[in-house]
């Protein structure tokens, strides 16, 4: 029995160790930020802490899916602000994991560019506010792939690239199915079972090509492009802009496929049982401030969805890669939202592709 008590005491000690936050919370209010690693300028955090006399505790995640799983398993009561990508917003909202945003508390909302004020993934920005944005295009090594068509054919047509290794993005399958639909002429925002199955068939066939080098997400794929492991891949404009700017990928070329491609958005949302939702609203409003938004984008080197920030953007962010022309705007789409049974069907199809 004595041994048991010692063990019990040990357990209690371990439990005690894990609650240093309780004492702290009594003094200054805490904003718990759940965000991708190094996705916010530390100077902005300091400025926010000073302005509202609070403390910001940052916790990192590496993918939307993990973040969502953690919220589902009870994490929705641990964090005040999280940063899901646009296509995760409908799912998180339907599952009751994020709460509606009180627009009256976010006066800076009016600063957003018009097309971000009523996006298809979250009509009226009821549950989310845009954080950073960008486009998804195709990057290739012109020494290996000569004059490819400005089209998804560069990836999906074996005649364009019969020999050199290439990758497709990983993730939830959303951008792959959409791009395959676009290539097949079914439109980037295809949303019927028949279209998805056709796209899935194309991806399965593509996967069987000898020079297919795997499902690799855009950012790691850029690393593989830089070291010559692969010759062509999808890419985010921000990633390519960055390596153009620091001189590490000057020989690579980037384009937007003419059949249509993604305007990606990472958004800010408030978990359903956030400990401090009022402070969360203040944080969202703070980020949507024109000057702060510009600081954020200049630090991240991603485009800003904020109209009031545009004039203060510097360096590569002023180049055409980051400011889509009117012609480009016509081929840019948000990933279409999937709701209810559609979501489940899509996942079944995508799982069958991966097998």
């Amino acid at each position: 029995m004595i041994k048991m008590r010692i063990l019990l005491a040990g357990c209690l000690l371990a439990m005690g160790m894990s609650s240093p936050r309780i004492a702290q919370a009594a003094e200054t209010p805490v904003l718990n930020l759940f965000i991708w690693s190094s996705y916010i300028d530390p100077a902005l955090i300091t400025a926010f802490e000073k302005k509202y006399n609070v403390k910001v505790v940052e916790t990192d995640y590496a993918s939307n899916a993990e973040m969502s799983a953690k919220l589902k398993a009870g994490g929705d009561a641990q964090y005040d602000v999280t940063v899901p990508s646009s296509y995760y917003v409908p799912e998180l909202a339907a599952e009751g994991l994020i709460q509606p945003i009180d627009h009256s508390q976010v006066p800076n909302y009016k600063n957003l560019i018009a097309k971000f004020q009523n996006p298809s993934y979250d009509p009226g920005d009821k549950y989310s506010m845009p954080y950073q944005t960008g486009t998804t295009g195709i990057v290739y090594d012109p020494a290996k792939i000569k004059n490819p068509p400005q089209s998804w054919a560069a990836l999906y047509d074996p005649k364009v690239n019969p020999n050199f290794p290439f990758v497709l993005p990983k993730g939830e399958g959303r951008d792959q199915i959409a791009s395959a639909c676009a290539y097949l002429g079914l439109g980037f925002t295809c949303s019927t079972k028949e279209d998805w199955l056709k796209a899935a068939k194309l991806i399965v066939a593509t996967k069987k090509r000898a020079n297919f080098a795997g499902f690799v997400d855009e950012t790691p794929a850029r690393d593989q492009m830089k070291s010559g492991l692969i010759a062509i891949s999808t890419a985010y404009n921000g990633d390519i802009g960055q390596c153009y700017a620091d001189g590490s990928c000057k020989t690579l070329k980037y384009f937007l496929p003419k059949e249509g491609t993604e305007q990606w958005v990472d958004t800010m949302a408030i978990p359903a049982h956030a400990p401090n939702p009022k402070l969360a609203l203040e944080f969202i409003n703070f980020i949507l401030d024109g000057a702060n938004g510009a600081d954020l984008s200049n630090w991240n080197q991603y485009a800003s969805p904020n109209q009031a920030s545009q004039s203060a953007l510097t360096g590569i962010l002023q180049t055409e890669m980051f400011t889509p022309s009117a012609a480009d705007e016509k081929i840019l789409y948000f990933l279409p939202p999937l709701e209810g049974a559609q979501y489940k069907l899509f996942n079944s199809i995508w799982t069958s592709v991966l097998q």
Binding site: S19, R21, S37, T59, D60, Q78
Partner: protein, 277 residues
């Protein structure tokens, strides 16, 4: 003992082993090479990545948490696991059969079998439940330590068991006569005998802990970002940057320097203590 092994076999062992050691460190050499990448818009090698790394306070904090987590959990799991391996080897009735006899073994195997995502999510739900009903076990470094102990225990227990299994049981009986008291016999006989297994188990525990992402991610609380959590996130956002390579290089280099220094200091001391005789 080792003089039993003929010279030709020794040569063969060396011929196989040295290349394996080299292969083990080849990827790390590449990592180190990339850590000396040039600063933006420059050419040649530089220490730019290291200066960025040292300026980043988050990395230092994450490293500190990872070390506390790894060593804290490995110390507890080594104690629990050593006792477990010893107890099952010595005191389990011989020739027991059936489900009951296999049950302790199956319990010990579960942390190895359980998929890490299921492991992590289960614990997150459990810790949340305990916290909301009792106020204990608030998610943070403490809950991470608990989870890490859980998945390390079987590795220590099986290593210790492997060492003890096949040892002559009479050895223990003899020591029992000598020391009478079970606890004394444990510390004077068993511990020295299983020492290599304890050290090995401890090393495996650290290895499992220091690079664990999934279970750490789910059992962590606000702010308790460890090195793997930071690194996986950073790779997803920025790719494998020179700073990440610099971090890996630095960690391994520091440990190698410490270990080699420790080795030479020890040898020096041993020699010094032998000289006067």
């Amino acid at each position: 003992m080792s003089n039993v092994v003929p010279r030709s076999v020794r040569t063969m062992l060396s011929a196989i082993s040295w290349p394996v050691y080299i292969l083990l460190y080849t990827p790390l050499a590449l990592v180190a090479l990339y850590s000396f990448a040039p600063a933006p818009n420059q050419t040649g090698h530089s220490l730019h990545a290291y200066s960025v790394l040292f300026a980043d306070g988050d990395v230092g904090a994450a490293l500190r948490r990872s070390l506390i987590l790894a060593f804290g959990s490995a110390i507890v799991s080594t104690s629990l696991g050593t006792l477990l391996g010893y107890g099952l080897c010595r005191f389990r009735a011989p020739n027991a059969r059936g489900i009951a006899a296999n049950l302790p073994s199956l319990i010990i195997y579960t942390p190895i079998i359980m998929p890490s995502l299921v492991f992590g999510i289960s614990e997150l739900i459990f810790f949340n439940f305990v916290h909301s009903t009792t106020g204990l076990l608030n998610a943070g470094l403490g809950t991470m330590v608990i989870a890490h102990i859980t998945f390390q225990v079987p590795y220590v227990a099986l290593t210790v068991f492997a060492r003890l299994a096949g040892l002559d049981p009479n050895l223990f009986e003899a020591s029992h006569d000598l020391y009478a008291d079970g606890i004394k016999s444990f510390f004077y006989l068993t511990v020295p005998v299983v020492r290599p297994a304890i050290i090995g188990g401890f090393l495996l525990g650290i290895t499992l802990s220091i690079d664990d992402f999934t279970i750490s991610f789910f059992t962590s609380g606000p702010g308790s970002v460890t090195l793997p959590i930071y690194i996986y996130g950073a790779i997803a956002r920025k790719g494998i940057s020179p700073e990440i390579n610099a971090l890996g290089t630095l960690m391994i280099a520091v440990i190698i320097v410490l270990a080699v220094a420790h080795f030479f200091i020890n040898r020096h001391r041993e020699r010094a203590s032998q000289l006067p005789v």
